[in-house]
Symmetry: C2
Subunit: 356 residues, 2 copies
């Protein structure tokens, strides 16, 4: 039978705790599936800095390159915040995305039943939200040239936002394909009234759109989109945008779900390989207390089964289990209504398994 | 007695309609004040493109340079959307900011009584919000070098995000001064885990902070801030950030107020001179219908009186009048509760005057 190789990077902060729960789910799936998993743990981020003095060891890159999918908890923390740029935990994340060619970050946003009351948005505004942010992940200002110099006029620092047409085209095509399989609406977000890179972006969206006549496309300026995401989120289907705008807008959209602890993500390239991680960070303030919400990581496993292992049934089973447990009113402190008792991270994982 | 020169640029779309109401208020103020106004109208944006084929005529720059304050409605519209970059209406706005050295854009966000129900955020979340976004306005990616080139690997487009230390320092100082006069909290927003320009930004905030020991400063990553603005907006006092992040975050924050038609702004430099404009755009879809909400422009007049003419009393009188009219449940369609009758743009202006 088929064996899938999975690279697992627990990382920093709450990373190891939430990854542990996700691994329980993965083992449970394996017991009931026709395929099996070959798990390889790897170091990255602060954990790697502490042990081998680099944020992304070559060995980790290699393990990930040989894997069919990568699961990542979270990286970063105050301990390494004053490291020089090259020795920051975040470098591991950026390096992995780039080295493995994961140019498309998929962040679905839906409202799980029972969470309406946890969102700061009015229930009637978020009722029925079902959107996905597709963020370009290996280009733009994240990877353009960076400079810092002392000049006669003072110190100067710069970052280059740069895109090649083919980098834009591939993410735009992927987004159209996704829209085709969903509500057939694509919103491309840019700042074409100011940025040259956005004007190139927009022209490519217009060109590719001709190949997808069934998809309704519109262009939205990023400032306006930041407003509309919290004004009329149900109007959106697929949102595609460049790296930095996607970073900002997808975190903002997390507010809809009522807890950032609920948002999974998949980073894809060409082929079926992917990197799966919760969108929340390492949350050092609550690390080690057993109260972290493992949902986003568990839901990232569902995305792994969907995109890398083509097991849509198992993916949906996990999503249903998480939905049901939350609908039961059971969860970590961030999930339950204020005043109600909460359960801890590993109990939450157990409940999901019981529901599976 | 003192005479202040005011340059007035109605601009495009709803610009002329809302500026007309603001001018009524200004004339009313003049009748009761010890100073008088010398008003000069000027062309910019699409209106200038149509008449003299450039978005920002030299004559307009000169009128604004000689003025003590500039009032601007809005520029832009679909008619000019396909113009080449140099012939876009927005160039007028960017050019004015840069030519006149207005490096600090001040966008206050408060919830007017009666508007709780118009916001898509829950009333308990926005109750008591009183924050101000200070956005750097003449630097960063808006003004850095732009390129578009055909290369062997394909077409490439880029925008340079660049800051000198002195550009950061002056806006940061202005923000500390503002925080001192308010709740003494300053949140500096950056993306220091990725951008070199943000690391320079952060180091300058830390240095300047030493001169303001009474102000509590924190640094927040822009993605997190996009989330926190709609999660716990009452925690903020002064938010300072670079040009593009400020553009996005201030529009997002507008959702708190229940209508983008309520958000005024002031753009300041060294000295008392300023450019005052609503943060909403030219809204071509509703232009000419007499339904545009003039509040943001009228509130921008209040900011003009406050910052350029040091007449705090008159500024507060206008703010009170707008607050009261809205609290009475009277307003343009975007302001009244659904199902209730609305009044038109010029009636709204008249009501404000009656209240003054
Ligand atoms: C940690 C940071 C570098 C990262 C990013 O900005 O991409 C994170 O915010 C994310 O969204 O995955
Ligand atoms: C019209 C546009 C160029 C402008 C900007 O991005 O600065 C507008 O969005 C604003 O915020 O004043």
């Amino acid at each position: 039978s088929q064996t899938y190789k999975i690279a697992v990077i627990p990382g920093d902060g709450i990373g190891p705790e939430i990854v542990k729960e996700a691994m329980k789910i993965l083992h449970h799936i394996e017991e009931h599936a026709s395929y099996s998993f070959d798990i390889q743990y790897a170091l990255a981020g602060g954990a790697a800095l502490d042990q081998v003095n680099v944020p992304l060891p070559n060995e980790t890159i290699q393990i990930c390159q040989e894997a069919d999918a990568v699961l990542l908890g979270a990286v970063g923390g105050p301990k390494w915040d004053h490291n020089p740029p090259e020795l920051r935990p975040e470098k591991a994340l950026l390096g992995l995305r780039k080295e493995l060619g994961f140019y498309a970050n998929i962040r679905p946003v839906t409202l799980l039943p029972g969470m309406e009351e946890r969102s700061t948005l009015r229930p009637e505004v978020i009722d029925g939200v079902d959107l996905v942010v597709v963020r370009e992940l290996t280009g733009g200002i994240y990877f353009g040239e960076k400079k810092r110099e002392k000049t006669k006029q003072g110190e100067i620092a710069s970052d280059l936002l740069v895109y090649y047409d083919y980098e834009i085209e591939r993410i735009v095509r992927l987004s159209f394909e996704m829209a085709l399989r969903r509500k057939k609406r694509l919103t491309s977000v840019d700042k074409a009234n100011v940025l040259e890179s956005s004007r190139l972006w927009r022209s490519i969206v217009e060109r590719v759109a001709k190949d997808y006549p069934e998809v309704v496309v519109d262009h939205m300026l990023v400032d306006n989109c930041a407003m509309q995401i919290v004004r009329r989120p149900t109007d959106f289907d697929v949102i595609v945008t460049e790296n930095m705008f996607g970073d900002i807008l997808s975190d903002e959209a997390a507010v809809i779900t009522g807890s950032i602890g609920l948002m999974p993500s998949a980073s894809l390239g060409n082929g079926n390989k992917g990197l799966y991680e919760p969108i929340h960070g390492s949350a050092p303030d609550i690390a080690g207390q057993g109260i972290a919400n493992p949902s986003a990581t568990i839901l990232s496993i569902a995305m792994m089964l969907r995109y890398s292992f083509a097991d849509e049934n198992a993916a949906q089973a996990i999503e249903r289990a998480v939905t049901q447990v939350i609908a039961d009113g059971v969860g970590t402190p961030d999930l339950v209504k204020s005043g109600q008792p909460a359960i801890c991270t590993h109990e939450f994982g157990d409940r999901i398994i019981k529901r599976l």
